[in-house]
């Protein structure tokens, strides 16, 4: 079959369309990773990660120092297993603690890392044991209601 110059251009056009579709599909199907500079891996276990998502930021003093690589579930301890990739430029003491925080009222959740006092630093593959779970609104409300119920009668007598 004869090939003309138009064939090449139409082929390129179709290829471009396919590439655009793949880009759209992958960036929504969570397969495309944009991490160019690899950091050192650190893992941690949380009782509850709330709405934390892969690629969420790890911040210290508000500065991004790493990213969440993946989130899994450990069915031995029934905890969430979070793999972090920390920026190579920053080192943290071994006893640093992690906390799941929320940016803004309805914003994205991220991990806050607080430096400890250990002289040894976190290395690749280390596990951070001191973690604090995400705040779950329902738990917060039920705690509030329990404490309210506990001192309910005294409130009534005060009236």
């Amino acid at each position: 079959m004869q090939r003309s110059k138009n064939d090449v251009w139409v082929g390129l056009f179709v290829l471009l369309g396919a590439a655009a579709l793949v880009f759209l599909a992958l960036q929504s199907a969570n397969l495309l990773t944009f991490s160019v500079d690899k950091g050192y891996p650190v893992s941690a276990k949380f009782d509850n990660i709330g709405g934390l998502k892969p690629k969420a930021a790890v911040k210290s003093a508000g500065v991004v120092v790493g990213r969440v690589e993946s989130i899994g579930f450990d069915d031995k301890s029934f905890q969430a297993k979070v793999q972090l990739s920390m920026d190579k430029r920053f080192v943290f003491p071994k006893d640093s603690s992690l906390k799941i925080l929320t940016s803004g009222l309805l914003g994205e959740q991220y991990i806050g890392i607080e430096a400890g006092a250990d002289s040894a630093n976190l290395a690749a593959g280390d596990v951070i044991s001191t973690t604090q779970s995400a705040v779950v609104l329902e738990n917060l409300i039920s705690q509030f209601l329990y404490s309210k119920a506990a001192d309910g009668p005294s409130d009534k007598s005060a009236k």
Binding site: S4, A19, A20, F23, S28, A29, K55, S103, L106
Partner: protein, 260 residues
């Protein structure tokens, strides 16, 4: 004010009905001629080249600027609620679901639809279509059908390019210019956009729009008065009718796809 005579009204309704019937018949013949088109892929390839490749520039440039503007406007709205991180998700959702297919179809009607109408109209005015019929060549399957299927194939590709370029344009404004976190931009987008529900339905939309725009353009050219004035009118009608049809179809399709 002159009142319409019942006979005139009846004539007008009858001629409109005849137009509708002729249009439906032409659509049927165009769809039916897919086999004839596939037997002559060179004709189809030239039409995709003419309508697709040459429309790429206007589509890509429009996509980038729509993405830019969305980045700015969504940031303006969302930062009031402290949800500026969701800009990426909103840009991607609105592009993939609405703006990609709809704006591409509108631009396509202006860029390629008008040229289809003018070409077919002038062929008709120059008696070329009648000459082909004299030579026992069916002008619908030889001239109209490759253009129809070429546009149907080119439309979803152009819409996908528009959406992808728009997302990148939105990224340029949100991340380097405004300073939204790049990871939050992509991760919010990935968690908020579904590959099948959102991207897939956007592709279906653009295919439907491709059918609508190319059919309207070809019908207007085919039914044009064979005079310079008639071709001018037909070209104008192509843009008006195709744009309104795309917007109306978009509402129907959105109601069907996303309300369930």
């Amino acid at each position: 004010m002159r009142f319409l005579h019942p006979a005139e009204l009846g004539f007008a309704v009858r001629s409109k009905l005849a137009d509708l019937g002729a249009g439906a018949r032409l659509l049927g013949r165009l769809v039916w001629s897919l086999g004839a088109v596939l037997r002559r892929p060179a004709l189809l390839r030239d039409q995709i080249h003419f309508m697709g490749n040459y429309s790429l520039a206007i589509i890509a440039v429009s996509g980038v600027f729509v993405g830019f503007v969305m980045g700015l406007q969504y940031y303006y709205g969302l930062q009031r609620f402290g949800a500026a991180d969701s800009v990426g998700m909103l840009i991607s959702l609105s592009l993939v679901r609405e703006f990609g297919p709809v704006l591409t179809a509108l631009l396509f009607a202006g860029r390629a639809g008008t040229s289809l109408t003018a070409e077919i109209g002038l062929m008709k005015a120059g008696e070329q279509l009648s000459a082909m019929e004299m030579m026992a060549v069916d002008p619908v399957s030889r001239i109209l059908a490759p253009r129809f299927w070429g546009a149907v194939i080119a439309m979803p590709i152009l819409a996908a390019v528009f959406s992808a370029v728009g997302v990148l344009g939105g990224w340029v404004v949100s991340v380097p210019m405004i300073g939204i976190d790049s990871g939050a931009f992509w991760s919010q987008m990935q968690s908020g956009v579904d590959a099948w529900v959102d991207v897939g339905n956007g592709v279906i939309k653009s295919v439907v729009f491709g059918f609508a725009v190319s059919f309207i353009a070809l019908l207007q050219g085919f039914e044009a008065q064979p005079t310079p004035e008639g071709v001018a009118r037909a070209t104008t009608r192509t843009v008006v009718v195709a744009s309104l049809t795309v917007l109306a179809l978009d509402f129907v399709l959105t109601a069907m796809m996303f309300s369930i």
